[in-house]
Amino acid sequence: MSSQMKALSPSAVPSQSFRRLAWRRFLRHRLALLGAAVLVCLTLMAMFAPWIAPMDPNRVDLMLAREGPSTAHLLGSDVVGRDVLSRLIYGSRVSLSVGLFSVSIYMVLGTLLGCIAGYFGGRIDMTISRLIDAVLSFPALMLILVIVGLLGPSTLNIIIAIAVLSWPEVARIARGQTLAAREETYVLASEAAGARPKRIILEEILPNILSPIIVDATFGIARAILVEAGLSFLGMGVQPPTASWGNMLNDAQSLSILESMPWMWVPPGLMIFIATISINFVGDGLRDALDPKLS
């Protein structure tokens, strides 16, 4: 039965040559390559933080508080004498994991709901589409603030809050793509061969509509990192002593620190910027590579 099906449905999975072409287009995008290189470095930094960091990021040393950069503390120390460089290195763990996990969750959720709405249509589509509209008209950050502020600020709650509020965008893309794909001959052929909806969605439609979803997810990682950093900056995100780039900037709300101790707030701000712009470069490169029509 399954070999018969494969014979009946022509090229449901994108061909090898498409991937090779896309890969070549991506390699031509210089900024995307630069971004990818930076991201690899950041990922390695996050993975090997305990070996790279010069000291324990949470070790408080009040005698050394607010010291400027020196050979002992390359980027100086913060208000309670913790080593800024070490906290910077450990902070990459929070940013990258929030970005990666929240986006993975809502990408799966949004894609599935979008595919189901687009494939079945009718009442199911109506219900899911209304839900998409409703969540999209939520003032997102306000709600994330309330959820995190009230449920208690933790990395897990931030990830959940971002995921719960971000899936509709992906769902909308997946739904539109599925609507178009379900009229294609390979889907009709598969239906004619008696394949079940679950199989058609997962094995025929999904591989063909992934490109725009992957592109959107890439930009989504950058957005999620910014949301986490913003929340932590406000003191409603990742809580000290755990270091996050956002909460390292929190102290700079005091004007005296802002004015005279730039080593405390400039490096984490720059790290957030470098991470998000690298991801956005990669997203741009992926868009050019996977979906040349869009650029």
Partner: protein, 320 residues
């Protein structure tokens, strides 16, 4: 048109109710209630706590409280702040002005700068201005706005001393428009920066789309001047989709305002939100949720109506 507006409002109403219901449940089921916040400060006795709880209606089940809240809402009453017993509507009203002025300033400023750059970068594709536009677009959406705010204060207020570090107006100087604008400039520019990034990119691609259309080629072939082709045939059509962007801008601005108001000590709704969350001031939080949801829905509705008025091809009576 009227039928369209009525139908959209009929859809918007249950959506708004759904939003308030979800928020109400989340807010009221969250651990830690406002009484704990009071008790921490004032050291009340257990029976006093019980009385306070009853006064605020906190010992009733959530659904009863929601129905009561809804009933009051339909009579135009948003309840009273737990903090100072002021009507929530007053708390919101005094914060509305500063936030609204900030948002309007940002909308005007970002469009004034982003539209010309976006259009020029499309007309002169691959020129220096095109690279500038791409730069602004990447920078704008990647630069964290709180970091931009800190950098702006550091440069323009602390180092150069040109602009104030925050606040709505000079203390004790009384109201003057010039003074307000002076204080508005820095937070406004920082918030507009991100919007510019989004707008430049969007204007550029919309304009690129349009100038490749047949009717633009026809106009050029018919011998119309380049100026007329670009602006009368190109720009007017390219700006249409930007109306929809205006609708999407409002929820983004609500997000930006929370952070920017905090950094610049701007007494608007964003700061009120943070104050209300920290003090578990549920009625104020619900008022904020409702008003921002309504603002977003109204923004989208306005954008749809404007779009339909500007583009006769869209027939509102049709199903989307």
């Amino acid at each position: 048109m009227r039928a369209f507006i009525v139908r959209r409002l009929l859809i918007a109403l249950p959506v708004t109710l759904l939003i308030t219901l979800i928020m109400f449940v989340i807010i009221n089921l969250a651990p830690g209630d406002p009484i704990d916040m009071f008790v921490g400060q004032q050291g009340l006795k257990p029976d006093e706590i019980e009385r306070l709880r009853a006064d605020l209606g906190l010992n009733e089940p959530v659904y009863v409280r929601y129905v009561k809240w809804l009933g009051q809402l339909f009579q135009g009453n948003l309840g009273y702040s737990y903090l100072d017993n002021q009507p929530v509507i007053h708390r919101l009203a005094e914060r509305l002005g500063p936030t609204l002025s900030l948002m309007i300033f940002v909308i005007l400023l970002s469009h004034a700068i982003a539209l010309p750059i976006g259009v020029l970068s499309a007309i002169r594709q691959y020129s220096w201005i095109d690279y500038l536009a791409t730069g602004i677009a990447f920078f704008g959406v990647s630069f964290p706005n709180f970091f931009a705010g800190l950098v702006a204060i550091y440069i323009f207020s602390l180092s150069l001393g040109w602009l104030p570090t925050g606040g709505l107006e000079t203390m004790g100087a009384g109201f003057s428009v010039a003074d307000r604008l002076y204080h508005l400039l820095l937070p406004g520019m920082v918030l507009a920066f991100r919007e510019m990034g989004v707008l430049v990119r969007y204007t550029r691609s919309s304009m690129l789309d349009v100038i490749r259309q047949d009717y633009v080629r026809t106009a050029r072939a018919a011998g119309l001047s380049e100026w007329s082709v670009t602006f009368r045939h190109g720009l007017r059509n390219a700006l249409l989709p930007l109306i929809t962007m205006l609708g999407l801008m409002i929820p983004r601005l609500f997000a930006g305002v929370v952070i920017i108001e905090q950094i610049f000590q701007w007494p608007g709704m964003g700061r009120l939100a943070i104050e209300a969350i920290l003090s578990r001031d549920y009625p104020v939080l619900m008022g904020l949720t409702l008003s921002s949801a309504v603002a977003v829905l109204v923004g989208n509705l306005l954008a749809d109506i404007l779009y339909a008025m500007a583009d006769p091809r869209i027939r509102l009576s049709e199903k989307r």
